[in-house]
Symmetry: C2
Subunit: 227 residues, 2 copies
DNA sequence: GTCTATAAACAGATAGAC
DNA sequence: GTCTATCTGTTTATAGAC
């Protein structure tokens, strides 16, 4: 209806035999994200992906197996993207660390609010978290924890706060939360602001504001640490 | 057949004829919130509520009707609670407005993170927003918009920012977003902080930190407005 | 108002042809 | 690898007894 073709994501040359598998995966991510896992039937996925219903069992074993594959695919892509955006965190000056935090967060916000696949992925992960299924463990261990620790180290260098203190951990979560909310509450946010949808221009405004909030928080933390 | 008296939610005083209806409503909110609308069968609701399956049709017409009733009940309760917490917003000094924002936000965070019904309600509303169903319109018009406008006026008095500017609207959303994220991402947040769950003590810590962030944002906004 | 039985549609999974 | 037909169980909704 509205989502465009579920294309290969970061995908380079998936072999011809796997194109069906990949189409199923991308379609499933899109539909699960949009309508939820339980509300999406395997028949619908197969139909949209232009595959037959049997192929889901063939490639993924079951509907639950398809869900796991979706989660792994997304987590892996985000992790690799993040490790490229935050290559080396050590030996930085406070202002460099702050700048790196800004770049990373700004990039994530713009990507999450505008890029179609990213929107789907964020929605998918959120549902997995709220349903607390089996994949949650994997998401936490392989994706969230290493990424969050890296951000906390950056925050520590930028502000002088200790990197693994409860305060720092919560503070970093609250910055992430600001960004995520604009994706999650998009229908409400857009309407309240008189926007038809959140496009490139609107994402830029949101990004600027969240980054300014973070900057204000960093400045305040530095002042607190001067005492 | 509308849902006034949303006060009786954990309800002791519901009239005898309506106790079945109320049990169905509360059970539905809990199960829809926990497992999602599509993943929850009417059979399960009836069983948990100790009612028979036919009673859902009898009282609410259909499963979709039950969902609408849940949304209305929650929106009504939140709206009435909020209007009690924020009775009069006019003729305030900046520091009074800031204090009122703090009290309201702190109250919401503590309630949302600890009180069982509030947790369910927040989860339910979030799902409705992300699914963009019919009730979304009602939630926006009767709940979010009036409440958000009130908060923006408070923010305006506290900081000097114009009340209905895009900046102010986004800023208030970002504060709400911080609070909501800790509810939404609770499984991840708790694990990262080494907490088993978010209880009263933990909610207090989160509340303090978010309120400090808001205070920092208000101070920074005041400074910007001095130019 | 409450409850049971049942209809009609739909779900996920699979066997087997090609 | 792909596709169809079909099995088995579950879903919502409803008709009708009490």
């Amino acid at each position: 209806m509205n989502d465009q073709d579920p294309q290969k994501i970061g995908g380079t040359g998936a072999s011809e035999e796997e194109s069906t598998k990949n189409a199923l995966l991308q379609t499933a991510i899109a539909l699960f994200s949009k309508n939820g896992f339980a509300a999406t039937s395997t028949r619908e996925i197969a139909k949209v992906a232009k595959a037959n219903i049997g192929s889901i069992s063939y490639y993924f074993g079951s509907k639950e197996g398809l869900r796991r594959a979706c989660a792994r695919s997304i987590a892996g892509l985000i992790a690799s993207t993040a490790s490229r955006a935050l290559p080396d965190v050590d030996h930085l000056e406070p202002d460099e660390a702050a700048k790196m935090l800004e770049n990373a967060l700004g990039g994530v916000i713009r990507l999450m609010l505008t890029h179609h696949n990213s929107r789907n992925m964020a929605a998918f992960l959120l549902q997995e978290v709220s349903e607390q299924g089996e994949v949650l463990d994997e998401i936490y261990t392989h994706l969230l924890e290493p990424l969050h620790k890296k951000l906390c180290r950056l925050w520590s260098v930028a502000t002088g706060d200790p990197a693994e203190s409860q305060q720092t951990i919560m503070r970093v979560f609250s910055v992430i939360g600001q960004a995520l909310y604009f994706r999650l509450g998009e229908p409400l946010v857009a309407r309240r602001l008189g926007w038809e949808k959140i496009g490139k221009k609107e994402a830029e405004q949101i990004s600027e504001m969240v980054l300014q909030n973070m900057q204000d928080m960093i400045v305040a933390a530095r002042i607190r640490n001067q005492n």
